[in-house]
């Protein structure tokens, strides 16, 4: 016997007002058609793959996005032939004598204008004269900080290439100057970690 109470009674009375659903006259015909069609259902239908459609499509989308991001962000090859995506392998120590000009740098970039009469060259010479010796410097240069990953917090940077005689002397880069770049993706082979082997200038850019 079913248990009922006062609330039940009122609800039952309300629900008794609801009309009952009735099957259409051709219900049996439609069922017979369905039964006949049911025997023709193949393995594909019985697997009921539609339930996996949404998660499957989501996985495909994530995979495609990851692939696109990988190729657009990390798979750019630099002019000196070092894949910039390799951020884990430390750069090899350059065995060249101190102060040697990297071969690749001169090949990859426009040759510096060797005109001693140009005002830029005169400025450079004066910089060389006034630059303190490497061991006398108390703080690492901007490039050293970059190579050590000690750039501005949260904003690592990418060294695109070494540009002798370029506009920005390394020593003139203050920490706040390096804030606006994105990530150190690689350091070219040709760049030595020795302070004296540092090139005069670097050109830095945001990867994107």
């Amino acid at each position: 016997m079913k248990q009922t109470d006062g609330g039940d009674h009122r609800l039952r009375r309300l629900f008794s007002m609801l009309p009952r659903a009735e099957a259409p006259a051709d219900f049996e015909e439609r069922l017979a058609r369905k039964l006949a069609g049911g025997t023709r259902r193949g393995v594909f239908h019985s697997l009921n793959l539609r339930r996996y459609a949404v998660p499957g499509l989501a996985l495909l989308l994530v995979g495609a996005l990851t692939t696109v991001m990988y190729f657009t962000r990390f798979n750019t090859t630099q002019e000196i032939g070092v894949p910039s995506g390799d951020t884990l392998t430390p750069p090899p120590v350059d065995s060249r004598p101190e102060g040697a000009v990297p071969k690749d740098a001169s090949r990859a970039l426009p040759a510096p204008v060797d005109d001693e009469s140009l005002p830029e060259a005169q400025d450079r010479r004066s910089d060389e004269v006034t630059r303190p010796p490497a061991d006398a410097r108390s703080e690492p240069s901007a490039l050293e900080r970059m190579k050590m990953g000690k750039t501005a917090p949260g904003r690592p940077m990418m060294i695109e290439s070494i540009v002798p005689n370029s506009a920005v002397p390394v020593d003139s880069l203050a920490p706040e100057d390096t804030v606006a770049v994105d990530s150190v993706l690689s350091v070219p082979d040709s760049v030595s970690t020795e302070p004296d082997a540092l090139p005069d200038t670097v050109r830095i850019r945001k990867p994107y």
Binding site: Q3, R10, L11, L14, F15, P19, A21, L35, G38, R51
Partner: protein, 200 residues
């Protein structure tokens, strides 16, 4: 084995299933005729649209047709077939939730049947009853599916606690808790209708 010629309306459901398993198509037709409307009523309230419910009920009979030999008379046949329909309705609701169903989404389909005027009823009374029915339908539809199926089986299909527990595969305490909470929600939603009903 039951001979085909002895299949009649007076047979119990379990006997009809046994006759169908032994090859009587007539027994299957009788079972369909007996259960199509109650199942349609139940599934219709569960899904909220008539066409989707028709599909689910037909699928229920397709399952019965294919799996009747797996039926063991440890439970009533009506419990067994309601369980099949309930599971299919839940699957359909889940599909609709994920947008995988070919059927119309909840609320878009045609609802049950029109309210038919009683012969001794005035047009105003018919209109009032129609509005009340709409509100009750909306209140039932607004219930969470777990509450809704319990309410429909208990109040509309007039099933007992034990049978509902078997159909839904829940314990008695769970069922009573669901019914109690559903009742509170319904009373809150249908208070104006109830008050109007009491004044009449």
């Amino acid at each position: 084995m039951i001979p085909r010629s002895t299949v009649t309306n007076r047979m119990t459901d379990e006997e009809l299933v046994a006759a169908f398993v032994s090859g009587s198509g007539e027994a299957f037709t009788l079972l369909v005729g007996k259960y199509k409307n109650p199942l349609l009523n139940y599934v219709c309230r569960m899904l909220g649209d008539y066409e989707g419910a028709l599909d689910v009920v037909q699928d229920t009979f397709v399952r019965l047709h294919g799996k009747a030999d797996t039926y063991r008379p440890v439970a009533k046949f009506s419990t067994w077939i309601y369980t099949i329909a309930s599971n299919l309705a839940r699957t359909e609701l889940r599909r609709r939730k994920w947008g995988l169903s070919g059927s119309r989404r909840d609320g878009e389909g045609r609802m049950l049947v029109e309210v038919v005027a009683d012969p001794g009823e005035s047009p105003e009374q018919t209109a009032g009853r129609s509005m009340a029915v709409e509100k009750i339908e909306a209140a039932v539809k607004a219930l969470p599916p777990a509450f809704r199926e319990a309410v429909v089986l208990f109040y509309l299909e007039d099933k007992g606690y034990e049978e509902i527990c078997e159909i839904l595969g829940v314990r008695m305490g769970t069922l009573k808790s669901r019914l109690s909470r559903a009742r509170l929600l319904l009373e809150r939603a249908l208070r104006p209708v109830m008050e109007h009903d009491e004044t009449d």
